[in-house]
Point group: C2
Chain length 186, copies 2
DNA sequence: TTATACTTTCAGAAATTTCTGAAAATTCAA
DNA sequence: TTGAATTTTCAGAAATTTCTGAAAGTATAA
């Protein structure tokens, strides 16, 4: 079995980006391969195509399942596990975003909330004020993100196409209000 | 010099999260420390407070400057560089988002665009269709993000408070259209 | 039940990233 | 200029992450 030149480019790129996206190279390459492959792939296919060990494929498969990016497909009379992408590109992107938010934002929000509790004395301190501002930001972001990311892909597309426009309207109304021009921002 | 218990909790947490956010532990801890510190800190202060080498502080400072998260402040008659946060928590968050998008999204969009060019034959292939869908997603996201992230913090806050509401209106109109209920999504 | 086809596990090897600290480079007051 | 104060650099050490492959575990066809 062999990859097309285009698939290989894509797979190699995903391997390089993987660590920036929160998983390791094999996980990234496997995801790329599975997404581009028309037919379900089993562990031996993948091990051979990516030239990595069978054990590595097994660990990466578990990781992809824990991210809910792939599902296992089995055919009667065949004992092998076949991996398939768990939805459209948009579904996968939303899944990645949700998982990353859980790992990259939620723990910090939790720590920040805890700190605010213990800092009820010193309400004026610079540290306390900064932590308060971070709490407000994360709180707002977290709620907004969960709402938006749970929308169906088609609705999300529509919202994003509006997004910039909505912002521009806000900027416009603000610009007409004296004393708040962009240039005056410190 | 010494950190308060609260500052230490915050700093240690930022150190733990750093790799998930795209920088190393020292960079994360330094950012946390600088953000919470009322007065500007020099390299020796930081080296002592975080118990890391002077060279490490120098490298981390460069990294924070390349992310535009800190700026250097100098006082006449003192040769030391003093580091200060480059704006409010919101400013910093927007800066981090912009930089991460540049590192985590833009390179992939570039590769995907390139691949589409070379796949003008085989327009029906599954791989080509998947790459096209990824291109559309990244294109839309990239434009939307740049627009939104360049808004002033106050405007962005207002937009995020609306965000969920705008989405809900869309869901609502859609739900009234037969044949597209959420439950029927495949 | 048994044999076998497969998956999972995990100790240690390999690869990668981060950190140290001494030497080199730079800056600036005198 | 000079030289002391400071920052930067970078080779190698340390820490961390990823990967391998053989052994153990599991599931299923016969």
């Amino acid at each position: 079995m062999q990859m097309s030149a285009e698939t290989e480019t894509f797979v190699v790129h995903f391997g390089e980006m993987a660590s920036r996206w929160g998983f390791n190279r094999t996980v990234g390459q496997m995801l790329a391969l599975i997404v581009l492959s028309e037919k379900p792939l089993n562990a031996d296919d993948i091990s051979q195509l990516l030239a990595v060990s069978r054990g590595n494929v097994s660990m990466a498969a578990k990781e992809l399942q824990s991210w809910r990016l792939v599902k296992v497909h089995r055919e009667p009379g065949d004992r092998k596990d076949y991996l398939v992408a768990n939805g459209s590109i948009w579904d996968l992107a939303q899944q990645v975003m949700a998982e990353r938010k859980k790992r990259e934002v939620d723990p910090t929000l939790s720590v920040v909330r805890g700190l605010l509790m213990t800092m009820d004395d010193q309400p004026e301190s610079h540290a306390r004020q900064q932590i308060q501002e971070m709490n407000d930001l994360l709180e707002l972001f977290s709620k907004w993100f969960d709402d938006v990311n749970n929308m169906q892909p088609e609705h999300l597309k529509a919202l994003m196409k509006m997004g910039a426009g909505v912002g521009r309207v806000l900027e416009m109304t603000q610009r007409l209000t004296p004393g708040s021009k962009k240039q005056e921002r410190p």
